[in-house]
Symmetry: C2
Subunit: 362 residues, 2 copies
DNA sequence: TGACCTTGCAGAAACGTACCTGTCAACGGG
DNA sequence: CCCGTTGACAGGTACGTTTCTGCAAGGTCA
């Protein structure tokens, strides 16, 4: 009977809703919504008045209600591969941190926020969050997460060229083959005769492409491949593998390490075997870390440009979400950057004897 | 007129809703909801049947609708300080990555996901995501973000003891004063006569507490403070500051660096000045990075145990969200760990002669 | 003076779920 | 035979928005 009378239970428990604002401003809900969202045909006076009342009441629109109504949540998934229970690994620290940082910035700049999600197919977490789209880092072939997302009609952009026929919306990657070939040529130019590789045992695209490129290069120049593979997610295995590589009878005189910590691991191993860098051993590793600028000697690194990748991935994803007909291609190759430092600099002639340490000679 | 007749437009565009499942299973919406959520009093047969139909239709409950109804989103904010446009900095890389990793794992294990948010007061992003609570990393005094969140009635747990009277629900931190004092004593024990500090110019709690502790220690032992401060968010400034510190007329014979890259920076600076570590200069820095295990020489580091902090913070937050009367205190101090390596090991006899290493003497 | 458009706003229908409040049958006990 | 109880479900409302549709009031033009 007195249904039309109920006074909204006096603004209910806590937060003010749009109804409260409407009542306080003496207008309708529609008017409040339009005023706050800059829509509709309202005179500026009304708009200002509503905004002022909303501010006074401390009104914050309910994200859940808005999402339910509009179908857009403003959330982007950032899916990272997991090893065991842990998302991303030691070996990916700097890369991931840089990439995530750039992605976060780019998303924020366009009004989106990032949700970190594991690549495991734990439904309960995935289905508990309303995503507008997802960034997948280095998806494995036939990734169940990606398939599920695509099935739901969500745009998926991949960091790393998708293996197989994974139906992603777009992807961004480096040209890993070209990068490896470039490094090998660089090392050969610096005088390397036998170049070794420190690689991983996992089957992700990065490891696979890089290793394949190395093997092809070896075949082309007629060098026997010299490499050690180890489980890259194990923080200790790298040092052991580096040691093993330098302990081989066919010890390489130059090494490229695919993972971030390989530089220090190889440097330590070289010291154990009394090898001087770069005189006896040329060194390059793939890393985003700044420490290699100040090691003794500084180590040449390959940067995969995670900032640019993180930014590009997010831009592509948001373009897809918003239906923007981007003029960017949906497959972007970001160039890598070889930062040449002492560890791979043309060594002094093989035959000459050089003093073990001469700080003046810098 | 045929209003009661409308057949739900034939399962609408795309996704199946709970209504579609109910229709397909020949039961009511309530029954579907109860069956899937394990509530109500339903015979197992019905429960199974509903679940099966839901699976067949590929039904995924709408996160937005559930959030709107229940008031819980399953999302936790991870708020990071921003410097300019970028969230977190170079100097915090390893710490943040470890911390975020542990936090992500812990949240996931309890069915929550993490949203990365900037500490800027950009309302539009904050209000667009429905959070159940927030982790704030090292909030500054009078942080507007924290105040706003608390005003909304959301639990806020802080990584880092909140400055001033910031009304957080709980916090987790190291005992930074104790850590610094421990390191200074450790260096003094190793023979240091004048210990320098490499610190930051920012006003965050970590920097402030650590610097204060250093100054107090100096006063206590009667040493003149020798320190250089630099803007820690600038990736290049550290090297310059390290150089400046070692170029001083009152050059210290031991240095503690508050930030992660200080180790390599100080090592490089020491080399430039022909100082041997640890013989001429003892070195310790605060870092989570593994590279310091394999530098030449290996550098003693202080670990703030970001894994434990990340886990603890999330546990406290979720306990608060779920109203669990946790037996954990709401103010937790996580012990730091000093990983002693060569760079701070008792140098060759200055006055007393003691064996460089005596593992028996424990 | 209508016919017609514009302005300024209100009503009400979704969005998809969770849960409170029935309803109806079966059943057991007095 | 009646009444209370319990099991198994259905109806309907509310969550807080956005937005489509509608409707007066006022102005313009033929």
């Amino acid at each position: 009977m007195s249904r039309a009378e109920t006074p909204r239970r006096g603004s209910r428990s806590g937060r003010a809703g749009i109804r409260d604002v409407a009542a306080a401003a003496g207008v309708s809900i529609t008017t409040v919504s339009d005023a706050l969202n800059g829509k509709g045909r309202l005179p500026d006076a009304t708009r200002r008045h509503v905004r002022e009342v909303a501010d006074r009441l401390g009104y914050r629109p309910s994200a859940a209600a808005r999402t339910l109504r509009t179908g857009k949540s403003g959330l982007i998934g950032l899916t990272v591969t997991t090893y065991g229970d842990e998302p991303f690994t030691f070996t990916e620290f700097a890369y991931f941190a840089e990439m995530a940082r750039a992605a976060t910035s780019a998303a924020l700049a366009r009004g989106y926020a990032l949700v970190i999600l594991p690549a495991t197919s734990r439904h309960d977490v995935w289905s508990n969050v309303a995503l507008d789209g997802t960034v997948v880092i280095d998806p494995s072939d036939q990734d169940p997460v990606v398939s599920e997302l695509v099935r739901q009609g969500l745009p998926v952009v991949s960091d790393g060229r998708p293996a197989g026929a994974l139906p992603v919306t777009a992807w961004v990657d480096n040209d890993h083959e070209a990068a490896v070939l470039g490094i090998l040529d660089h090392l050969a130019d610096a005088g390397a005769r036998r170049i070794g590789l420190l690689t991983g045992t996992s089957t992700d695209t990065y490891t696979h492409l890089s290793t394949t490129a190395y093997l092809r290069w070896c075949e082309r120049v007629g060098q026997d491949p010299v490499y050690e593979a180890y489980p890259a997610h194990d923080p200790c295995a790298g040092a052991v593998a580096a040691d093993r590589l330098l302990a081989r009878p066919d010890r390489p005189d130059a090494v490229y390490g695919l993972f971030d910590p390989n530089g220090t691991d190889l440097l330590a191993a070289a010291r154990r075997y009394g090898l001087r860098v770069p005189d006896d051993l040329l060194l390059v590793c793939c890393s985003e870390s700044a420490v290699y600028a100040t090691t003794e000697p500084p180590i040449t690194t390959l940067s995969l440009k995670p900032r640019r990748i993180g930014t590009a991935v997010v831009q592509l994803l948001i373009d897809a979400i918003e239906g923007v007909e981007s003029d960017q291609p949906v497959e972007q190759v970001i160039p890598t950057e070889l930062i040449v430092r002492t560890s791979s600099e043309r060594r002094s002639p093989r035959t000459t004897v050089s003093p073990p340490r001469s700080p003046e000679e810098g």
